[in-house]
Assembly symmetry: C2
């Protein structure tokens, strides 16, 4: 009864270019771990956090793990005490779905501890409550791919409608995290509230093409569709080197690039691992030339999502 369960949940890319606000995907290898076990206090307790540099709150009402677990327990209606231990693998505020990964790992671990009363899909709304605490809005485009893996479409929110999409064979992602600070509030404030009908139509055509490309494994179509005319033109201005990187990776056969989440991390999609690695080298060159360091991470698109370890 007092066993402990540890789950891992991956980093994610949201706001996938033409899929601004509706499309995310999961990354392999990088992520957060959460360990949960029953306690006798009949309440939640965040017993410790590592890897956050002391920045994350231990308070149950503020921590994304405990908020997500509380939403799950509220749904069950039975008071259960759980100790929560979080090992952050993801940097905070980098645009790689850090808060989402913590919530996703916490939920998958807790669901297992309780004998899996919920499907993975059913865990998503609980994780959205954690996003509401962490980001101010209960968006699903990081938590859904972190839990479910693969490319995930958030078709709509009223009611929540999540569609797991196929992952084309061979597709790779390169994440590039330039060493700049970019506040989410700045990234939000530059977004236009009104856009032209023409821009909306172009965006619709691109996301439609991108989805068709995923289903047909058509890298050419995916590449032609991977263009965001709505958020990127404003947000790219906040990320020096963005357009230089975009042009550099296109020249070596990568499919395209975009801003991950609200940045500053940039994602590059490639048709194979070699081009993805080369895109990483190009990224280092681009940022070196403008005097910035950059972390590069190359991975397949993770089709598994969060899972229990050991």
């Amino acid at each position: 009864m007092y066993r402990s369960i540890t789950a891992f949940a991956p980093a994610t890319v949201a706001n996938v270019s033409c899929g601004f606000d509706i499309l995310g995907f999961a990354i392999d290898g990088m992520g957060d771990k959460v360990t949960v076990s029953f306690n006798e206090q009949k309440k939640l307790c965040v017993t410790g956090i590592t890897g956050d540099g002391g920045k994350l709150p231990l308070e149950v009402e503020k921590n994304t793990c405990s908020v997500a677990i509380q939403a799950l327990l509220d749904q069950m209606g039975t008071p259960i005490g759980i100790d929560i231990y979080l090992e952050k693998g993801l940097a905070l505020g980098s645009g790689m779905g850090s808060s989402a990964a913590s919530a996703a790992a916490a939920l998958v671990a807790t669901n297992t501890l309780l004998g899996n009363p919920f499907t993975k899909e059913e865990l998503v709304p609980f994780a959205m409550e954690a996003e509401r605490i962490a980001c101010g809005s209960a968006h699903a485009d990081n938590v859904a791919p972190s839990i479910l893996g693969g490319f995930v479409l958030i078709r709509g929110y009223e009611p929540l409608d999540i569609v797991k999409l196929p992952v084309p064979k061979g597709i790779y992602c390169t994440l590039v995290h330039p060493h700049i600070e970019l506040k989410t509030s700045d990234s939000r404030s530059v977004l236009r509230k009104q856009i032209s009908l023409k821009e909306s139509t172009v965006q619709s055509g691109n996301i439609a093409g991108f989805i068709a490309g995923l289903y047909t494994n058509d890298f050419g179509l995916i590449s032609r569709s991977l263009k965001d005319v709505i958020a990127e033109p404003s947000r790219a201005l906040l990320i020096p080197g963005f357009y230089e990187l975009r042009d550099a990776i296109k020249s070596i056969g990568a499919l395209g690039s975009g801003i991950s989440g609200s940045g500053p991390t940039i994602f590059v999609l490639s048709p194979n691992g070699e081009i993805a690695l080369e895109a990483g080298e190009k990224a280092k060159d681009v940022f070196h030339k403008i005097g910035l360091g950059a972390d590069v991470y190359v991975s397949e698109v993770n089709n598994r999502g969060a899972f229990v370890l050991g």
Copy 2:
């Protein structure tokens, strides 16, 4: 050498709800016929038109058939004389792709007469030139499905990028043409030029879901996605009975409805032929109640496109 070729091209629905300006599909059975044969004048000649009530021009520079064929011949670079005879099966200005069907039939007939120098996909830009003459803009969302059949996505125009999508097994269309006049210019003038970021995101989610639904034969997802928040709210006000019909067909299990082209024809998609027929009865009731007649046509989605007869 002086044989004649007759081709048939189907009616089409463009502006398919959440696919405003980017998605069209073809209808079975209804359409236009064009017969072409070589002449000795070394120029194009529209020899006759039936079924148009005398409204369509015979002038080679103004007729959609001859304009489309001229674009094809210009591409080949050889001066060839062709006689063109058009049998209109589609009402003009009804929102069912009447001008597109004429151009599509003319091109498929001519291409066959010339020994098929072009693929069907390659004929689309020629038909777009006819749309430029007929409608003032070289849009492809009627001509592409009329030529190719099925659901067709116009991913973008720069360059033209056309994606033929799968047709879910069993899907049926009910076309409802209420007896009102609706000028395309009015239908255009009510469109907002600016829309909110939120509306654009909702539209993107819906078209993405619709495309995913086509690939997975998921009628539930197709139905949930079949919502246009951009053009329909303005244009539906020009079509009395639109919302009453929408609610009536949803109540009997149809997938959803929308305005065909720029109206006044309304299309209804259904998961089978029985519901499609019932939707037609509901439509007659709705328009009868408000004192309007309505023509109803029930058909499968045509996956063949334009073809040569006989």
